[in-house]
Subunit: 200 residues, 2 copies
């Protein structure tokens, strides 16, 4: 069986959200599954010297315009969050806890968190925000709260983020297909041809 596509994203990344709405169906068209791997852009920025897009002069103004236009272009619901960007630490820990607890729900949780942040203005950087979203999936609030605060989950999150950066992941979304890296919502087209042809 062909290897899963690694899908790296930050919960605060608009382009990560846009790609998240497409990546599973794209992979399925080519007989692939997707390994969802939330990471933390802020940690990657320590290596690349980058900073969040909205804070970069000129580029920030353009980006705020482009997030919304790109969502319209791709036909994806989008509402610019009031608080932006946010820390992805809490939802990322929630994801890795869910993975260890019930992996069948990990992708649904990630998708619900992204949708809540980018279409309903729920601030998912807070534990309360994450719990509210998780409740819609029937995830137990006490167990999830304990998971988010579990030192083992914190270590797991840190290890995942470090492994991503060690692999060269510096942006969101960032996909890896059989070792071939694709950065950005803009590279889903190249990734799809790569999957269809085995490389070009």
């Amino acid at each position: 069986m062909a290897a899963a596509i690694d899908f790296y994203f930050d919960f605060s990344s608009p382009y990560g959200y846009l790609a998240a709405t497409k990546v599973d169906a794209l992979a399925a068209r080519h007989g692939r599954t997707v390994a969802w791997r939330p990471m933390l852009l802020g940690v990657a920025f320590k290596t690349t010297g980058g900073q969040p897009l909205p804070m970069v002069p000129l580029k920030g103004d353009y980006s705020r315009h482009d997030f919304i236009r790109s969502a319209r272009f791709h036909g994806i619901p989008y509402r610019q969050p009031t608080t932006f960007p946010i820390s992805g630490v809490t939802p990322t820990r929630a994801f890795y806890w869910q993975q260890g607890s019930d992996p069948a729900k990990e992708v649904a949780l990630a998708q619900a968190l992204l949708r809540a942040y980018f279409t309903e203005d729920v601030n998912i950087s807070s534990v309360d925000g994450v719990l509210a979203v998780a409740a819609t999936l029937g995830i137990d609030a006490d167990a999830l709260t304990a998971g988010i605060n579990d030192p083992a989950i914190k270590d797991r999150t840190r290890a995942e983020v470090e492994a991503a950066i060690a692999r060269g992941v510096f942006g969101s979304p960032f996909m890896v297909v059989d070792g071939e890296p694709f950065w950005g919502m803009d590279r889903l087209d190249q990734m799809e041809r790569w999957l269809a042809t085995g490389g070009f």
Copy 2:
């Protein structure tokens, strides 16, 4: 008559080169012309705090790979230049001199310079490199050399670059259609739909 599309690019930018091979035909499909406006990314970086892609940790390695893969994806000839990046000052001055001298040849000169740098490894940051390319278009070497060194052309170049940045141009390529900005080779698809529909 509909306004021209402003096409900003840096002579050292691989994605600028890739877009330059497509932009005139794309515009023509929608009854538009293109105003070519070479600029200097290095000056924009003073505003944005950016730096050339190849010098950014992680992103640099990815970008060198992506330049070549993107050229293959779009079916555009590409050979990674030995000296990269380069200063675009000399070819940019040559362009604006040519514009004042014989505007019918300005686009042909820009295209020939980009093609020489990105497919034949000609270092177009030097006057000799620019003259060699210009000679293939029958442009007089003495007149062009004088133009590149003309203080009025230097002022013109500086003014064009400053006007671009004042307008919010921070990357290459960067297109503006009736006030709507599109950054990157990756936005030609959105620009084309914008031209076809008058906005979306």
